[in-house]
Symmetry: C2
Subunit: 418 residues, 2 copies
């Protein structure tokens, strides 16, 4: 018996090269000649940053600028900074991002945060800090939600994330196993990942075209603890998979993605809903969310843990109590079938149908190109500093589409497309 | 004989904690309550970044933002980016720095670059890229040279830097030896580093007060290959050691520092000068610089290697051919006595008297507070996109001060203060 058990090496894995290629060619959909790229990543993701940087230059980038975050430095602020610091955000930094996007820069975020990073910190400080950052980030975020430029999110299996997903495994094994799950769900393990993405995108395109054509007035979710009617915005369009940015580039804003989604009407959601997965938000895990809506707004909210963070979250502003997104994902999606809870929205939102509190996407309208901000609001588009997804789909949840004449069309049964 | 040779561990060295304390308390001179700090560092310097971040929060910072650079990513641009990329700089990024400083943020740069990083790259691309960055950086740099905010430079012994300084040693030993030199020259190895800095600053203050009082019209440098008269700006003041920023904080902009320096008159330098050390600039080593000045401007420039980079450098703009700084350092300074060539201005400029091409410091005037930009130019203050120091002092170089009446006062003999 060979006792030799080589350590998993993220940097030496040839799949990492393929992920970088998919990130730039599929996720960003390529780059315009001379276009800049702005990347955010943790320092741990350096091996992927370097590969994406090289791919972006090969694709014609004039400059790749990466903003690295460091968990230890983030924690040092909570440990040592004066209390008033947590109402403060570096506005100049977020304005710079907005300036970069206005100047045409593409955007790539490498995600893989420690879901428990801030779990032991004062929830009040966490909430105030998130609020200050959300406010400062708003101008840049609006350019992203309005698809002014091509952007994408891609994953990196950090040690802390792997530990949260596989708490029973030693660190190196957990990282290797998380990478397997990430590569599989991002279709990197296919013989030709880019061809696999083309095929997947075609399927999602057909699904969203069908839903947009139906022009439902609302969707009704029925399941254990859930009886929720989500009104849809007037003239809403379903999106998913590829998206064409206003700069003319078509890419996949999420790697991986399984969802089709649209814009709810901010005033027209009614009933109760129970989350089907915990929500990892700002370093806190919020479990067993139960919420009641009246006229589109949350009037009651509970959670078995993290309820204080939930209350702070929906108290951010008026729009934080209302829906900005509704998305459908079949229970048979590969991420759902993995059976894993990733504690990360990019993955967990692709394991189940979900709704999002906060800012709505302006692109989810049939006439999005010509629509003014005032029309967006009139049609039911929600505005907020936040945009937070949480899962409400499961094998036990049915979805019906309700037309303007009141007729009911089954959309999903037992978590699967009808 | 014990064969056990423990590897040098930068992160575990208690001197690193002391360096971080000196960086924040002496270098920055502390922080205003709630002041932001903007740091730049290579990813390799992470252990020092973390300590300085913690120290800054303890000193009252509301937010520490660190911009990390990565040599591999920099090289990827030279390897893969289209040619036109090298005329481009991320202006939004440099504008953000200027906005941060205007908003009151302090600035700390951790230096320790690989002096040979770009040695094998196309000098034309290197020069164009440096030029584009210098131009974009100008608004932020002007706030620094005008001491609008407190700022400082501190060193970190990167492996590549250590390899350049000690090419004959294995990497780990080279890093350990470079750290010894850095800690020693930054007075970190003293029993009480902060007290040692207070004493050192008092000595430098006395020296600069004496020189300012003399009101020399010019300085004359005489040595092998050098017969240079450097005219001094009207109303110049000598600076060195501590510096009071316009935000009221007094710190040490360079850790370490041994020099006293002032502003030359841009039109009044005459004669020839031979550099006494190689100049590391933009990843290229320029050796044996020989230059002739007429009416303040370089009319002839040679180097035994790197001459193309030198010519590009002085061709940056009109001010790049003229002097923006003259500085005196005794040959007995600890850095000079180490006998090392550091290939890094922060150290090598403190081993020898030197001059700098390009932008002059507006603070080096007796009435700097009330002086307009127009007056600055009239008095002889030089303007340029660049500010590049190079060493002209040595044990064999004498310096005389020449008064307005033509009388000559010996200032340095054989490299030492008279």
């Amino acid at each position: 018996m060979d006792q030799h058990q080589p350590e998993h090496s993220t940097a030496a894995d040839p799949r990492l090269d393929k992920l970088a290629e998919v990130a730039v060619r599929v996720g960003l959909g390529g780059l315009h000649p001379g276009q800049e790229l702005v990347m955010t990543a943790s320092i741990e993701a350096l091996p992927l940053v370097r590969r994406i940087t090289a791919e972006a230059y090969k694709a014609g980038a004039s400059q790749v600028t990466t903003f690295f975050s460091d968990d230890e430095s983030t924690l040092a602020r909570y440990r040592h900074a004066p209390d008033s610091a947590f109402d403060h955000a570096p506005a100049w930094m977020f304005e710079a991002l907005a300036a970069a996007f206005r100047g045409g820069a593409a955007r790539l975020a490498i995600v893989g945060e420690d879901p428990n990073l801030l779990a032991e910190q004062d929830p009040d400080k966490v909430s105030r800090s998130n609020r200050a950052r959300s406010k400062a980030y708003r101008p840049a975020l609006e350019l992203i939600t309005a698809s002014a430029i091509n952007w994408t999110l891609v994953p990196f299996a950090s040690a802390a994330w792997a530990r949260a997903v596989f708490p029973e495994l030693p660190s190196s094994a957990a990282v290797a196993k998380l990478w397997d799950a990430l590569y599989s769900s991002a279709r990197i393990d296919r013989p030709d990942p880019q061809a696999a993405w083309a095929e997947h995108n075609a399927t999602l395109l057909a699904r969203r075209a069908m839903l947009t054509e139906r022009r439902f007035r609302s969707l009704r979710f029925t399941g254990p603890g859930t009886g929720l009617t989500v009104g849809l915005a007037d003239g809403h369009a379903w999106m998913g998979g590829i998206s064409k940015a206003r700069n003319g580039i078509t890419g996949n804003p999420n790697i991986p993605t399984e969802e089709v989604f649209t814009t709810p009407h901010a005033l027209m959601t009614e009933g109760t809903v129970a989350a089907t997965k915990p929500l990892a938000h700002g370093g806190t895990l919020i479990r067993d969310i139960r919420v009641r809506f009246e006229k589109g707004s949350i009037v009651e909210a509970h959670a078995s843990s993290g309820e204080a963070v939930l209350q702070k979250l929906i108290g951010t502003d008026e729009g934080a109590r209302r829906l900005g997104e509704v998305a459908l994902v079949p229970h048979s999606s590969p991420i759902s079938q993995s059976g894993l809870l990733f504690f990360n929205t990019l993955f967990d939102e692709n394991a189940a149908s979900h709704i999002a509190l906060g800012q709505a996407y302006k692109k989810c309208f049939t006439d999005a190109e010509s629509m003014s901000d005032a029309e967006f609001a009139e049609r039911g588009g929600n505005s907020s500093l936040i945009h937070v997804d949480w899962m409400i789909g499961a094998a036990a949840v049915d979805v019906d589409g309700i037309a303007f004449d009141g007729s009911v069309t089954p959309v999903m049964r037992q978590g699967e497309w009808v």
